[in-house]
């Protein structure tokens, strides 16, 4: 079972993520959009939209630090266990608050407003369910870190890096608490849905806008 969930599923989901995204870009760029619903309902997006996205950026940054950077690296630059946890919570709690409350407000907006239903597809509903699962278990996991008896940087992070190194080591995942396990399933499900959902818009963050001239001329 562990083999299937933590050695096979990651590769399946990452393959679908990458291959599916390429396919979607090549075949279905006409439908590649933010799927913004501000036009249908503006006022209730004012707080929720920026809250959710800023929280998301912070959470993403936190994951890069916590998951990709090995523990010995942070320790060698003088950040001990105690300090690390302090930094993680100082950044993680505001990120989590913005992220979770942003998400809740967005869901209230989406399902409490009759106009919004025309912008909500079946894929959207499935996506929000999986996202909710992932976000809430992620936050619960962070908060359970207060007790300090489970260190994901000695279990989940090395496991994830072993996936990236193409030599998955499932043994890291043996004693991981349930919330974190669900969190893992959550991100893998999200990765599978990613290419076929509105999430693709995150790849379109318009960095190139800063480098281009104001007016664009094109020949037929």
């Amino acid at each position: 079972m562990n083999e299937l969930l933590y050695a096979a599923l990651p590769y399946i989901s990452l393959t679908i993520l990458i291959g599916g995204t390429i396919l979607r870009y090549a075949q279905g760029e006409r439908g590649w959009t933010t799927k913004s619903s501000e036009f249908l309902s503006k006022n209730d997006l004012k707080l929720a939209g920026p809250m959710f996205h800023v929280g998301l950026f912070m959470a993403f940054g936190g994951h890069v630090i916590g998951v990709l950077i090995p523990k010995f690296v942070t320790e060698s630059v003088g950040i001990d266990e105690h300090l690390y946890h302090f930094i993680a919570l100082a950044g993680g709690i505001p990120a989590g608050v913005l992220f979770v409350f942003g998400f809740i407000l967005l869901m209230i907006r989406r399902f409490g407003n009759s106009r919004m239903s025309v912008n909500t597809s079946g894929m959207d509903k499935l996506l929000y369910l999986i996202l909710a699962l992932t976000i809430f278990t992620g936050c619960a996991g962070t908060l359970s870190g207060f007790g300090g008896h489970f260190d994901y940087r000695e279990t989940i992070s090395p496991w994830f890096r072993s996936i990236l190194m193409l030599s998955p080591d499932v043994s890291y995942m043996e004693n991981v608490p349930l919330v974190f396990r669900i969190h893992m399933i959550g991100w893998m499900m999200t990765a599978i849905l990613f290419p076929f959902s509105r999430l693709v818009h995150c790849l379109s963050f318009p960095f190139e806008y800063f480098g281009r001239s104001h007016i664009i001329y094109r020949r037929k």
Binding site: R24, Q27, G28, E29, R30, G31, W32, T33, T34, K35, S36, S37, E38, F39, L40, S41, K42, L45, K46, G49, P50, F52, H53, V54, S114, R115, S117, V118, N119, F196, H201, S204, P206, E208, Y209, F210, R212, H214, I215, I216, Y217, R218, R219, K220
Partner: protein, 473 residues
């Protein structure tokens, strides 16, 4: 000099009868789709009025167009960074209710109703939610000043309100048909973070690439004319295409073709791309109009022709530019003005201001009035067409009046007035083009960038470019 060609339009407002044929034919061709029900690539407003969408001229609210920052041109919505910060919530984006909620009626109830004491009624149903709705506003709510009070909220009246009372005896109105202006300095293009909007090099048509659009929505507030719309179904931006598949085949836009008042003129102008930015940055906004006239170049000037040829403009296009009716009206005769030049986008749809009836208080005394005695206040026209520069309006209206005087005197055999600006023959040509010109004189387009047959175009009606290839929509 860097000469480019542009298809430009002139509308003779004196002849617009406000029939909305242009809006309807345009809608039938381009926006009779789900997600686009509320869109009018071409709409006709009654002025004074707040228009469609509501109060579109209030740039304090929408931040449309360009402004000058210490002589530097910048978008009113702020810097590029400012706009990136607004990706997740755009405070200036109009929402559905700023236009109106589109509806249909339950016509079925008329047919299926059982026998009753009262007539069955077809009640309105929202085309968005498919639920019953109450109609509160429509695309054309102010037709012929129908909505009453909202005319007073016309943004143009705010600066000049003490002169214009809108009391019953002084009330005035005119129609203003509007489509995208295919501007020389388009704010929509500059605002698009994905670079999906572009101006076509060949003919100046401004288009949204439906594949490249990501739904960031910045073009919508940035266009000061509110001529970009958000499709709530495909979640992409759409705009007037100037019927480019027709232009490419030498046919005029649908609105021009079907215009009942025959008010629309379409033709080629040549302009100097290198002069555009300077012109848009003109310090005094009252002078933008006269500066644009210098950006538009004489198609018979050898230097212009040489540069045009270097840029690959074909003989056919150069010939069209030479006989262009819009060039004559805009530049030779100076009869047409750009709508709200102060937005600094340098619009390429031009308007011949209307010669309205004579004001009530001078009615008995004169037969042909002076331009100052018109019913539509000059100051109001100046707000619309010359950034408040009343002398431009006086001069333009005076030319139109001179034309009428010349033609009248000719008709009844009186001697011609002195101090005319143009030769008598010029006024005769003017009269012909503005008054009685046939289709082929009003519309002079070079045939064809490509050879799609007309039958094929009909097949594509209503779908061109907006269908969803590959799925995922």
């Amino acid at each position: 000099m860097n000469i480019k060609a542009q298809i430009a339009m002139v509308m003779n407002l004196d002849k617009c009868i406000g029939c909305h044929t242009c809006s309807i034919t345009c809608k039938n061709v381009w926006t009779n789709r789900e997600g686009a029900e509320y869109m009018y690539f071409n709409n006709v407003e009654t002025k004074p009025g707040i228009g469609y969408p509501k109060n579109w001229e209030n740039q304090e609210k929408w931040k449309g167009g360009w402004k000058l920052d210490d002589g530097e041109l910048s978008l009113r919505t702020g810097s590029k960074l400012d706009r990136i910060m607004k990706l997740f919530y755009h405070p200036e984006q109009p929402e559905l209710d700023d236009y109106y909620e589109p509806w249909t009626y339950d016509y079925e109830t008329l047919i299926n109703s059982r026998r009753k004491n009262h007539q069955p009624v077809a009640r309105p149903r929202s085309l968005i939610t498919q639920k019953r709705m109450e109609i509160k506003w429509g695309p054309n709510w102010e037709d012929d000043l129908a909505s009453g009070e909202s005319a007073r909220n016309d943004y143009n009246l705010q600066k000049i309100s003490d002169e214009i009372t809108l009391e019953f005896q002084d009330i005035f109105m005119k129609y203003l048909p509007r489509n995208c202006n295919h501007c020389l300095n388009p704010a929509c293009v500059a605002a698009c973070p994905s670079g999906a909007i572009y101006k076509r090099d060949e003919d100046g048509v401004v288009l949204v690439n439906q594949d490249g659009c990501r739904g960031w929505r910045h073009c919508i507030p940035s266009c000061p004319y509110k001529k970009i719309y958000y499709n709530w179904k495909t979640n992409k931006a759409e705009k007037c295409t100037f019927c480019y598949p027709r232009l490419e085949n030498g046919l005029p836009t649908v609105c021009t073709d079907t215009c009942v008042g025959r008010i629309r003129y379409l033709g080629v102008i040549l302009y100097d791309l290198d002069a555009v930015k300077n012109c848009a940055s003109t310090q005094d906004e009252k002078l933008i109009y006269s500066n644009v006239l210098n950006v538009i170049k004489d198609p018979t000037d050898p230097a212009v022709i040489e540069s045009a040829k270097l840029n690959g403009i074909s003989e056919a296009w150069l010939r069209s530019a030479e006989i262009s009716p819009v060039y004559k009206i805009i530049k030779n005769w100076k009869l047409a003005l750009p709508l709200h030049p102060e937005y600094r986008t340098l619009p390429m749809v031009w308007y011949i201001p209307p010669l309205s009836p004579i004001a009530k208080n001078v009615e008995e005394k004169v037969y042909l009035p002076d331009s100052k005695e018109m019913r539509i206040p000059i100051a109001y026209l100046a707000e619309l067409f010359s950034a408040g520069n009343v002398s431009v309006i006086y001069q333009t209206l005076q030319r139109l009046l001179d034309m009428r005087t010349v033609m009248r005197r000719k008709e009844i055999g009186e001697s011609m007035p002195q101090n005319l600006e143009f030769e008598i023959e010029t006024y005769e040509k003017m009269y012909r083009l503005l008054g009685i010109a046939k289709y082929s004189e009003r519309i002079k387009l070079p045939a064809g960038l490509q050879g799609v047959e007309h039958e094929k175009l009909r097949e594509l009606q209503g779908s061109t470019g907006y269908a969803c290839p590959g799925g995922f929509c």
